[in-house]
Point group: C2
Chain length 582, copies 2
């Protein structure tokens, strides 16, 4: 037995007990006649004590040889500390060591194993096993486990069955790129790793397994952006004999449960908004509704007042930044420079201060009277003390730019509080979106999403206007889940493939099994999938996912710790009937 207790649990109730602990040496203070060692394990830190008077010479000598991150095992007695540390769970006691075993030594770690480390990202990733010893990383992994357990217990309690779907499936070049796996036994053929278990969960619905879920790894071979991983985890869910309303209610329930159990937060409102409304009010299909600064369409009050720049644009749109009328010229210039950066790409930013005394001062005073600006204030909801910021241009582009500015200001003004949670359903997404590159429509969600019945006639005339039975769950300005009511008959599914530019052969080759299945009594069904990495990060009050993943890959898709991917033997390639062609 290596330990009778963990390093996180001893306190005054254990005073006098003989205990046995194991862990890592976190810190050593050697005063010569006395040596204190902080011993750390997953559960906490306990102070060990060696003392010239009470410890043998051998023991003192052994203790002197300890170094950071040595792994040791000690026996000793729990004693009351002379100077207690109220910030530590074990801060009232220490262990007077009687026996010390060095279980393993350690080289000096390449960065400090502390809350705040001196290790850069690359070093931390290379030595991820040391990084995981640090509380901030370790706690995030434990947190992830807890969220996973809550998800499973909630869904299982609601009658959902976790079914494992296969990882070695078939490549379907629609959507993102697949990772493929050459088959040795089937020469020249490849499996693909799933981008999601979409078709399998639909087949489970056809199979009568009417409430399915799975926490499952998915794979996309995309050029990595920051904070995106080639392998990621989804909470994948599907239900049969449901309408959209049933799904919204079920997963509103899951979200409330998680916020309550994981964050101790009871959510009152769970609002819903159409995609169109979200775009109009926030310029964004995943608005952070924890703060205001809602968009105001200023076409009526800002156009045709002699300001050419606005007159010729499709949309003039503004927001009121609370309390920002006091911004200096320099501060405003910084915002203008920010939106002009290529990442945002705006031409400029018009501003109007609604001063505390009720007067206005703007960058367009030449063109707009006090009265005009008062109208802007009314539309944007600005109060005295606020700063009105206005952009103009093509509708979608301008909304996107102003939305970016709104989020930037939300962060800067501290309006995006990590411990405040505001979920939101965004509904009625467009079915299709136009792709400029390929000059055709793509499925906005995926090709299995059903169009709204009343919009079906529009498929022939204006496909871009057809709304889908598709919905996203947004939390604090992040899309954490998305889903739809699926097509469940062969005829509609064939038609959809046709609209998406599949030939009949392609559709059959890639999704024939699904359309076959639809002929044998497919029930109406729909579902949702949550990005688990992101969900966990947001519940954890963070927006980057990397530390919520035990062994993440870098932006080149590499695992720098194990150094993968790597070359493989010629022998292996030969068995796979493959040759590398650089």
């Amino acid at each position: 037995m290596y330990r009778s207790h963990t390093c996180g649990e001893l306190n005054m109730t254990n005073k006098g007990e003989q205990v046995q602990l194991s862990g890592w040496v976190q810190k050593i203070r050697n005063k010569g006649f006395m040596i204190w060692v902080d011993l750390r394990d997953r559960y906490g830190i306990t102070q060990l004590m060696f003392d010239e008077e009470r410890s043998s010479k051998d023991l003192m000598e052994k203790a002197e040889k300890l170094g950071r991150e040595f792994v040791i095992q000690v026996k000793g007695q729990v004693i009351e500390r002379e100077s207690k540390n109220p910030n530590m769970a074990t801060g009232d006691i220490e262990v007077m060591v009687s026996e010390l075993d060095i279980l393993n030594t350690s080289l000096t770690p390449p960065f400090t194993i502390e809350e705040e480390t001196d290790g850069g990202e690359d070093l931390r990733m290379k030595y991820r096993y040391l990084d995981i010893r640090r509380n901030p990383v370790k706690n995030k992994l434990v947190f992830r486990h807890k969220v996973g357990m809550q998800v499973r217990n909630y869904l299982s309690g609601a009658g959902f069955i976790e079914v494992e779907t296969p990882y070695l499936i078939k490549s379907t070049p629609e959507g993102a790129r697949d990772f493929v796996v050459p088959s040795r036994m089937n020469e020249g053929q490849f499996y693909a790793l799933p981008q999601s278990p979409q078709t399998f969960k639909q087949l489970l619905m056809v199979g009568g397994m009417d409430k399915y879920f799975q926490i499952v790894k998915c794979f996309r071979d995309e050029d990595l952006r920051a904070d995106r991983q080639p392998e990621f985890t989804q909470i994948d869910c599907e239900m049969a004999f449901v309408e959209q309303e049933d799904i919204l209610n079920t997963f509103e329930g899951l979200t409330r449960h998680l916020l309550k159990e994981v964050n101790g937060v009871e959510i009152e409102d769970f609002p819903r908004m159409t995609y169109a409304e979200a775009m109009e009010r926030y310029g964004n299909d995943k608005p952070d509704i924890r703060f205001g600064m809602e968009f105001a369409n200023l076409n009526e009050v800002a156009k045709n007042k002699g300001f050419n720049v606005f007159d010729q644009q499709e949309l003039v749109v503004g927001i009121a930044v609370p309390g920002a009328a006091s911004y200096t010229r320099k501060e405003i210039d910084r915002l203008i420079a920010w939106v002009k950066r290529p990442q945002i790409g705006a031409n400029g930013l018009v501003w109007a201060k609604y001063n505390d005394d009720g007067s206005f001062k703007s960058s367009v005073d030449k063109f707009y009277s006090e009265e005009d600006l008062k109208a802007w204030a009314e539309e944007t909801g600005a109060n005295p003390g606020d700063l009105i910021l206005v952009m103009a241009g093509e509708t979608t582009k301008t909304r996107t730019q102003l939305s970016a500015l709104r989020m930037f200001l939300g962060n800067e003004l501290g309006l995006r509080k990590p411990d405040e949670f505001a979920p939101l359903w965004v509904l009625d997404f467009p079915l299709l979106e136009w792709d400029e590159e390929t000059k055709r429509y793509h499925a906005m969600h995926h090709p299995f999403t059903s169009p709204k019945k009343e919009d079906i006639p529009l498929l022939e005339t204006s496909p871009g206007e057809v709304r889908a039975n598709a919905y996203d769950l947004v939390l604090n300005g992040n899309e954490i889940g998305g889903g739809s009511i699926r097509i469940h008959d062969k005829k509609t599914q064939s038609k959809m493939f046709h609209y998406l530019g599949f030939s009949e052969e392609e559709a059959k080759e890639q999704f024939g099994f699904l359309m076959d299945a639809f002929q044998y009594g497919a029930p109406p069904h729909g579902g949702i999938a949550f990005g688990f990495d992101r969900l966990v990060a947001i519940l954890g009050g963070q927006e980057t996912i990397r530390d919520f993943i035990a062994f993440p890959k870098n932006n080149a898709g590499r695992d720098v710790m194990i150094d993968a991917p790597a070359r493989i033997d010629e022998e292996q390639l030969k068995e796979l009937h493959l040759q590398v062609k650089l």
Copy 2:
């Protein structure tokens, strides 16, 4: 809303209620003036009724058009049945239908959707989504979910953290063959899919995450034997600061929990046996101890009695088959033929009947007296009425053959009861096993397994005799889990790689990250992994795993439903810098 109730819940307490049900048409009985339809969903079957007198003509006509596996939605009133069916949960009631909606039609399914189907294995796999509608398959998937939840809740409650390890890792040609995944972004390089998360879980131990588990998919590109899948699921576990005893106790706890919660069985004994003992007593490292027929070494009593065939052999070994003295000559000949088949490969089988009257009759009466055979009976524990079966030859080979015969007879005599559970720890496995093909030692468990301290000197002199800190958990004659205490220092690990024939470069290239990690304070650790597919099957009272997997592959590694693997586009190959060479 598609349903107010499921098809499994209505009974007399609902009498008179207006309800709404959805599901599949299981059966139709049309008597002209009355039509009964069995409506099925995941939860059960409810009888629907249409009747000339009370149903409209329209409704009767619609009902007449229904076919098997049509998906329908009905509204109606719960009424008491005239002739009740006590074998059905809903057998006291039926629903008098007032509204009928056909949600989807169905082609005639290629096999019957019943408990016992007329569909062969291939057809069932091709239409797996229909097969899953059948109770025997559906129930096994639901059962699997329940076992998974119990595993997670037990381990989580015991302080284990489920950590997701990566799927895109590095190929290590030791052990089985890896499936590999070409990297598009890293030209000419490949990821490998994990054969198990072994090294990652060890790194988690180095990282201080001292109780880890994961229910996780693993991949092995091996030539498939019956009942083996290229992708399979493991319950993977690891603990730090533990000795073998801690691990045995922890997972004995898990096993007891599962048997109790899943099967309602409280296990009294949880015996342990060394590998050597298991081989001696059962000729098998995963003995089914639910029945006797233990091996008896007959060297002392059967050799040097003038029977040449035995005299020259290393081992003469026998078992007593209870009650089989009454076997006819024909029945015994069948057993002899069975062991002579190439799959078993025995030269023959000597038999001796211990008749009810205490006399003996054997196939070797020429060489052995009644007294001699009495000695055989004593050694094998045979009683009057039993049949003694004896084999001879090289020790290992003969044990394996007799063990196969023992299991065959165990099945035949009904001694392997599916609802009786007998777990067993098999301990002290050999560290290494000699491979005739490559003429070198291989790790019996894996290269990270630690040798028993007292056996380390033998590594230089007789490596085959070194015992490992390795253990298997056996249930009803199946290995359901196996693990070991790991090496946790670089020096021993290097030495082990050396014994296994790795060059220093190879060891560094493939496992350098692990040996690096061992230098930074690796704690003592060990673990175990359970084959989840097999565990679930055995708890479910079955020995074949296929129906406990939603979408299994066939023996050629193909998914015949989606037709994978398959060829991929030239374009895709090019992006991956690959060419197929057949």
